[in-house]
Symmetry: C2
Subunit: 297 residues, 2 copies
């Protein structure tokens, strides 16, 4: 299987590593607008060769577009213009509505499968790519009926090879859900970092590595170049999630000031997240029994 | 050395484990208002015996009070009433001003060392106690001039045995700093959990274990019985930190809506936390070269 990865960062690089290791991708071509990234990916053995977009896409069986979401819109159209009917294309952006809309009437729309693999770290670039990053994680497939059955099946097989669980929803549902469970936590962490940095004058930062700060603020290390376009493309739902969050913060503050019993109740309610995180809660994941590691050597 | 631990939870239990393993505490007595906790600590070998407060405190070389901060005030006074001049007493509460004030004019004030060991997990109870929980972590010693030199030196030695770094500040400085780097992240996580649980009607919780949610919300699993009293005792600074945080969240929201360039700038500013967390930032820690593991067998 000939794989082309456009954008050799954390997500694209990690997918290439897994698909090669599984024996599923035999030839991997990399495309990156930044020459140093392309060279690093080649040096790390993530890709076999680097090339320009046009030549790298033609003849590929599978194309992964893993670049910031504002760049995906134009690049996806360009890729669909170039491919044959033997090629399946995915993008891995964290937003899906704006991207899906841009290619909605493209003659090769059926070759495209809109997905959001829910995994990552706060690091970026080819050096951040990790084997097994997607193992056991969810991949959201959006508007599946707009993908041709062949291309949908092929993409599903790719994700099963990576050990992912699959969830299906509309692009609108995915953008709304993801605003709350991914985009909002990122904004919360960015703002928390800024709030603490704001108080620097009192030498408050004596040890930020203790005290519960580290895990809560981890996402504040994330790349503005990646997250800025996500917040912009999903503006409506990210703003809604922030309004809900600020409402809850204000309610908590008010309860600390005036109503200790209500404060205890708010914490007990928040504690319910423990059961949900440990898997006792609801899940929209449709096929828990995904066949994994089909191609493991 | 005879050690008495009042409150056999995560912090008290972990300290007992470390001090026994280092060979520094030979006899460990446990006191807990909840009989099941006391029995579990005994069964786990964390303490050698369990007893009532009065008999367990008399004759002890070192007393650790590790109970919720609202309970510390009364218990600390009670303990100081009972001890001889050979006993050193600490409490490990996350707030220090209210507690220190309550015993400010006690005749045995000099036997008391007010500290805040900055380590923990979101779990509680004797079963949550961990060996090495404090290794390399900061212990804040407050208002050190109010402790007698003998008792201060003894307490410092205990913390060095546990491998801790020591920081010194006033109780007021500690409460202000801790509001931002520990109490605020906890409130942020409680409110984030509530915000996401709020949207449950749209089945938003399809996979909260992905997408950056888990680490940001980890602290929302924390015990209301422990944290409620902390937020109440440190009300002034926790409310201040929340106001600063909400201000930064609103600024971020506004920038998403109207000013993408400002939004990028806010993220770049937040990214500075990476350098600070990795130890390139300022530190108030006074003695990085603490002698550790004095008593390791």
């Amino acid at each position: 299987m000939k794989l082309t990865v456009i954008g050799l960062g954390l997500i694209g690089g990690s997918m290439a590593i897994d698909l090669r290791k599984a024996g599923f991708a035999q030839e991997i071509t990399g495309v990156d607008a930044v020459a140093e990234n392309a060279e690093e990916a080649l040096r790390l053995g993530i890709v076999d060769r680097i090339g320009d977009l046009e030549n790298s896409v033609k003849g590929a069986d599978f194309v992964i577009i893993s670049i910031p979401v504002d760049k995906i819109v134009g690049t996806l159209t360009q890729v669909l213009d170039l491919i044959s009917d033997q090629t399946t294309v995915i993008d891995v952006g964290s937003t899906k509505k704006a991207i899906a809309l841009a290619v909605d009437s493209h003659p090769r729309r059926r070759n495209y499968v809109a997905v959001h693999p829910m995994s990552g770290t706060e690091n970026s670039g080819p050096g951040a790519a990790l084997q097994g990053l997607f193992e056991g994680k969810i991949n959201i497939i959006c508007d599946q009926e707009k993908s041709g059955p062949l291309y949908l099946a092929f993409a599903e097989k790719v994700f099963q090879v990576m050990g992912m669980k699959l969830a299906y929803m509309t692009a609108d549902e995915q953008d709304h859900s993801t605003a709350f469970i991914s985009h909002l936590p990122h904004v919360a962490a960015f703002a928390l970092a800024n709030a603490v940095l704001d108080k620097e004058e009192r030498e408050i930062i004596f040890d930020l590595a203790s005290g519960g700060f580290t895990s809560t603020v981890r996402l504040a290390k994330s790349s503005p170049e990646m997250w800025g376009p996500i917040f912009q493309q999903n503006k409506q739902y990210v703003v809604e999630s922030l309004e809900v969050y600020i409402k809850h913060l204000k309610a908590f503050k008010k309860s600390i000031e005036n109503d200790p019993e209500e404060m205890m109740e708010l914490m007990r309610n928040a504690n319910r997240i423990r059961g949900i995180l440990s898997g006792e809660g609801d899940s929209l994941v449709k096929n828990e029994k995904t066949i994994v590691k089909l191609y493991t050597k």
